[in-house]
């Protein structure tokens, strides 16, 4: 099931992603806070362990120091008793389990003029037997050895840095040296106590706050007094190790330790994130404990992995749960969609599933239902509208037939007259009209144009036509005809409808034309010579506007062969797509081209075609009426 196609899956995924993101952020923050807390706790723990260890080692050191301190007077009092001096060293060793050797070394020449005199008791490295010897000789020139020379030069007790003693002990050791002074304060020798470094290393290896922690003792010269890697003891200094680690922090730690500082420093020990706590020991040495963060965070890591697994499984479970719940919740949407599809296919009676909840789904269902209802109602309405439109249309067609039938079609073709007229409404029914009737040798004709178009115009036209039929037949003067028609049209014309009319009466015998123009377009007169011009007629006023308007008529004497072309503005105002009108100039030009002999029906048709050609199929926006009257 594609996520793109399944809303429930997608929604579930978003919800789960958001929730999982939130959980991860919370866990991370928890992790950060807890790890910093754990860090602090572990540091404090390591520090307190260091403090305890330093305290312990200082106790040992103090014991060793006490064993030889304040023996000046004992030695001085028994200078004459060599045996006693040997015995003193032996007792120091015997009485102190931490002391593996002790010497009383005298200044060259001080003891009975001897160059070297130094009673020395030590415990053999292998045999663990106590030996007592005199250790000074040409090959063991003790006065220039550190353990003798340095306290002498410094004139104070001195803990030597570790060394491998060739003189007797034959093992790695550190020596506590105490200057012996006579009553005047002059140094006449050094009394010493040796401690084994092997013992120190063993003891130190027990100081382990964490599984992989290790501890070290560093002398003032940076060399290791104790270190878990025994090859480093005596051989390496903290700086050679730092150089190998290539970590400048380790170098700084070394400096801080040699400076007798107490502190804590994070560094990278053999590629592992570690920290070291260090602090000075009373004798000038420094102790350090290295702890690996990996050790400290081991449990945390296990917990984190468990948490991560839990998060992962929880997320999956949540996704499944969400998917199912949302799927159930959104099931109606699927059903609505199916219903909508059924409707789209044309079945507007499709059943829309019910929903129980009163939420958005209910709203959606109501909308859908409302839509269905509306569509159905609309369809019913549409059906009835369509029916009524059809009826209306057919009625209009009938109206058109009636209107057209009102206009006479029996055009007279006589020796002295060729008359033809045509009307082309813009809509089914129009407001243009023409009429003619021949009584004896007199022909009465007219062309009219009702303002507006369509049904209202057509009705007004019908009235106008009827009025003319009746009044025109009375044989009244033209102005009287027009006056009466006008009065007739004004009667009850509240809508301001009006009609422009050109009406004429032509005596076919004499060629006398009486005409009256009621606001109509000037008609075209084409002489027998083919010359065309507009007839200048008094405009008077369109009919139907003001009762009792004093219309005036005019008279024109026509020669035989003269043609009158009557038209409505549907001709001159016929428009092309570019809004250019056919216009009076083109009409006059057209008229100038007409053969005076041509039958009126052909002339009318030609003008109509000209206009149609000009508009190039653009919608006809007004009724077109053309009448040609030729006096033969």
């Amino acid at each position: 099931m594609s996520l793109k196609k399944n809303f429930a899956s997608r929604l579930s995924l978003y919800v789960v992603l958001f929730a999982a993101g939130l959980m991860v952020v919370v866990s991370l923050m928890l992790g950060i806070f807890s790890s910093s807390a754990i860090r602090n706790i572990s540091r404090r723990m390591a520090e307190s362990q260091l403090d305890r260890a330093i305290l312990e080692i200082e106790q040992v050191i103090t014991e060793v120091e006490r064993a030889v301190d304040n023996l000046d007077w004992v030695v001085e009092q028994h200078l004459d008793n060599e045996e006693f001096l040997y015995k003193v060293t032996r007792e120091i060793v015997a009485a102190n389990p931490n002391i593996i050797g002790s010497a009383i070394a005298f200044e060259p020449g001080f003891y009975k003029g001897r160059k070297y005199f130094s009673p020395y008791t030590y415990i053999g490295d292998q045999t663990h037997e106590i030996h007592t010897i005199q250790m000074g000789n040409e090959n063991y020139d003790y006065p220039i050895l550190d353990w003798y020379q340095i306290p002498k030069l410094l004139e104070k007790p001195y803990w030597s840095d570790p060394y491998f003693d060739d003189g007797g002990g034959g093992q790695a050791m550190s020596t506590y040296s105490m200057p012996l002074r006579d009553a005047d304060g002059h140094i006449f020798g050094i009394i010493t106590a040796d401690i084994s470094l092997a013992w120190l290393s063993r003891w130190m290896s027990g100081i382990k706050p964490y599984a992989n922690s290790y501890s070290m003792l560093v002398g003032r010269n940076g060399s290791f007094i104790a270190h878990p890697d025994s090859s480093k003891v005596l051989n390496e200094t903290i700086f050679t190790v730092a150089m190998e680690l290539a970590d400048t922090t380790a170098f700084d730690i070394g400096k801080a330790m040699l400076a007798g500082k107490k502190g804590m420093q994070r560094f990278v020990d053999k590629g592992q994130d570690s920290f070291m706590v260090y602090g000075p020991i009373s004798n000038g040495w420094s102790m350090g404990i290295v702890n690996l963060y990996a050790d400290i965070f081991r449990h945390v890591r296990h917990f984190n992995m468990f948490l991560a697994a839990l998060l992962f499984l929880g997320t999956i479970a949540m996704f499944i749960g969400c998917r199912r719940t949302i799927g159930q919740l959104t099931m109606p949407i699927v059903e609505f969609s199916n219903s909508a599809m059924t409707m789209a296919k044309g079945n507007f009676k499709a059943v829309i599933p019910e929903v129980e909840t009163k939420d958005e789904l209910m709203k959606l269902r109501n909308s859908l239902s409302y839509m269905q209802q509306s569509i159905n109602e609309y369809i019913v309405e549409l059906k009835s509208t369509t029916a009524s439109n059809e009826r209306y249309e057919s009625e209009l067609n009938i109206a058109r037939d009636i209107q057209m039938s009102m206009l006479p079609k029996d055009f007279p073709e006589r020796d002295d007259l060729s008359l033809f007229a045509m009307v082309q409404p813009a809509k089914e029914v129009g407001g243009d009209l023409y009429d003619f009737h021949v009584v004896g040798d007199v022909v009465f004709f007219l062309v009219g144009d009702v303002s507006g178009k369509g049904v209202p115009a057509s009705l007004f036209m019908a009235i106008a036509r009827a009025a003319f039929r009746f009044i025109g037949a009375l044989g009244l003067p033209m102005h009287e005809v027009m006056r009466r028609v006008n009065d007739c049209l004004c009667d009850g014309n509240t809508n301001g409808m009006f009609v422009t009319i050109f009406a004429g009466r032509l005596d076919l015998k004499t060629g006398r034309l009486d005409y009256c123009n009621a606001g109509h377009n000037p008609i075209v007169v084409i002489g027998p010579d083919g010359k065309a011009s507009y007839l200048k007629a008094k405009p008077n006023l369109a009919a139907g506007l003001f009762e009792d308007f004093p219309y005036e008529d005019e008279t024109l004497q026509l020669e035989r062969g003269t043609r009158l072309v009557l038209y409505t503005d549907g001709v001159t105002e016929a428009e092309r797509a570019d809004k250019q009108q056919y216009g009076e100039d083109r009409l006059l030009e057209w008229a100038g081209r007409q053969n005076p002999q041509t039958a009126s029906n052909l002339v009318a048709a030609d003008l109509f075609n000209q206009v149609k050609h000009f508009t190039k199929g653009a919608d006809q926006n007004d009724d077109i009426t053309i009448m040609s009257v030729l006096l033969k």
Binding site: K453, T500, G519, N540
Partner: protein, 100 residues
């Protein structure tokens, strides 16, 4: 047809622009409705930018004229283009409506 009506006291200044033909005659009727129902003592129409009027349009002017006259007010059409003026002349509307 674009109709802009500005009122100057009791006088309404009207600016007519474009063509008035069958297609927008109804709209024009609505546009000038405030002039029909209003109480302006004088309506001054600037027709300098009017391009054309159909017979339907003429009827609107006529209706306006009748209404305005009925309430004793004055309607004046000004600066009409010659070919537009001609329509008013031909139909005789120039007799009924004051065209300056």
């Amino acid at each position: 047809m674009n109709v802009t009506i500005t009122e100057e006291g009791a006088k309404a200044l009207v600016k007519l622009e474009g063509r008035l033909d069958t297609t927008n005659a109804d709209q024009f009727q609505k546009d000038i409705q405030p002039l029909m129902t209003g109480s302006h003592a004088e309506i001054d129409m600037d027709c300098s930018d009017m391009e054309y009027t159909s017979s339907q349009g003429l009827r609107m002017f006529l209706m306006l004229q009748k209404t305005v006259s009925a309430r004793g007010a004055k309607l004046v059409l000004r600066n009409m283009k010659p070919h537009v003026k001609e329509v008013f002349d031909i139909t005789g509307f120039s007799h009924i409506i004051t065209i300056l």
